[in-house]
Subunit: 329 residues, 2 copies
């Protein structure tokens, strides 16, 4: 295993310390229990958005804390759910009268621990489950996973909260964004979890894992390595089939690198995906290309499409000032 | 070789097409000869900044075109210098009365081709050579290479140009930034150039290449794989020795991923580097963490320190709106 680390068990803390120092102008790190929150006074007049999940997906979620997006994030150890005491402490530290919205990726541990936290909290709070991964069937036993589309949910709901929307309104925006969003990923290599010290799965030089999540698990199926065009065709078709956009529909296209994929290849995938939807009459009016929801050092990409209406477009365009997403301020 | 490509020889074009589509709001792609320019009318009252170099370093340089930074970039094929006709066409397309400043990384091909272009251009123009890589001695036969510090030169000079500085003033800012900047990189893996189809060098699981450039060349020396603290100590010491900052000096600390390195590890390196300089009385007042100057899929990082004064700090903080660096607008 070759990584920039000192000890396997200190990676989490040291990386968080670096994050906190590099972005001390916008966030504050609380150590025990661990949560990262927006550097501002308690927001009495604003709905607070809290997300969280295992580490190893950086910049998700802490990189999206700040004006117009999240108010706090609770990081677990690598690929491990945070514990309810973290969500409870974050909620108590930042939430005012307007209530709190939990944004939760659909993984068993995250769902359970956010639910426990919700029960422990007195004040009004609601949760939204993100499940944008269309590599699993809609009727999958544990439901579809939440992957790169989580960013869109956090951005849209965060903008609404910043503009003074109520808790119910923020929840509605988050759910509509989730419904309008579909993602699917592919890996050319496994990631290596530090505590394990070796790749989580084996794959030959002539294979790819289609339909991977973001926790180093195997994909939905192992396929012969395809060209970029073949890969985009498989993924975009699955997304298109799921969302069934009408001709003339506007959309946001997000190409996400899974941690070990250079930007040059991500832009190539963007080109092919844009052509795919352009041929089907879908108008790509917004774009995001980069490694935003990662799986440690995995060489892979995911494609996310979010169908836009005027309201969602305006929420996407609204000012945001976080460590990893910033415009308009 | 596992990459998201169709044909090796179409990667360059397809990736550029994707870039142009994703950022059509701020840049325009010209195909023959190939250059990317800021989407705005000819700037008669502003010094124009043009940079360029081989591809494979994305987002450098095209990702830094826009308000407050570059006016145009000329990309060569992967790790290959652009040709003088590209710089000439870019210059003719965008430069007005205030003249043009070429920002050139110190590599033989880039230097030669920018020099030829400069000779072919009638209007006033000057060049600045970036040579921030301290892994090579100051008296190295071909001089030190230009690496991740190029971003700082482009940002500072770009902000000055945006504010109406003259050509000589912009050149002065660029040269001062270059003098105040030192970088050094390390690789845990080789990158794989698509046309070659295999890693450009071999390295065992227990080795690291210290002092790498950004073209897949071997480092200054092959060392036993060290801990993150040991790596930071080697690199930061070389930078500190070169810049010799006094106690109380303010600085910008940039941790750069070389393409295959997750953000989580980059933040850990940031933490350690910040501690290194904090112990020596250097005040890190600005930060940048991310993969901005890459070497295809190389797993590696570089550390860049730029000594700041009030003027350079203000130029760093000035509004910038490019594909990969954006704040204040």
């Amino acid at each position: 295993m070759k990584k920039f680390i000192n000890q396997t068990d200190s990676l989490f803390d040291e990386s968080l310390q670096g994050f906190a120092k590099a972005h001390a102008d916008i966030i504050t790190l609380n150590s025990e229990p661990c949560f990262i929150s927006r550097k501002s006074s308690k927001a009495n007049n604003k709905v607070c958005l809290i997300s969280g999940g295992g580490s190893g997906h950086e910049p998700l979620h802490a990189g999206f804390i700040g004006k117009g997006m999240l108010d706090a994030a609770c990081p677990g150890q690598i690929f491990t759910s945070p514990t309810p005491d973290q969500m409870l402490a974050a909620t108590e530290a930042i939430t005012g009268d307007a209530g709190v919205l939990f944004i939760v990726k659909n993984y068993a541990g995250d769902v359970m621990n956010f639910e426990i936290a919700a029960e422990m909290i007195d004040s009004e709070n609601v949760s939204v489950l993100v499940n944008d991964d269309v590599s699993l069937p809609k009727n999958h036993s544990t439901g579809r996973r939440g992957v790169a589309g989580t960013l869109m949910v956090e951005k849209m709901a965060g903008a609404a909260a910043e503009q003074g929307a109520s808790l119910e309104e923020c929840k509605g925006i988050a759910e509509r964004t989730n419904t309008n969003t579909a993602s699917m990923g592919v890996a050319l290599s496994s990631c290596t979890v530090p505590a394990l010290g070796k790749p989580t799965f084996n794959i030959t030089d002539s294979e790819m894992e289609m339909g991977v999540g973001i926790h180093g698990e195997r994909g939905h199926e192992t396929l012969p390595l395809g060209s970029a065009s073949e890969i985009v065709d498989i993924i975009a078709s699955a997304i298109h089939e799921d969302l069934q956009p009408k001709a003339g529909q506007s959309a946001l296209l997000h190409i996400n690198g899974l941690g070990g994929t250079p930007l040059m290849e991500q832009y190539l995938i963007y080109d092919l995906a844009e052509i795919y939807w352009q041929k089907r009459g879908v108008k790509i009016i917004r774009s995001l290309v980069g490694s935003y929801t990662t799986s440690l050092d995995m060489a892979g990409i995911s494609i996310t499409l979010t169908l836009l209406d005027d309201e969602l477009t305006a929420l996407w365009d609204a000012p945001v000032h976080t460590a990893s997403l910033r415009w308009g301020c």
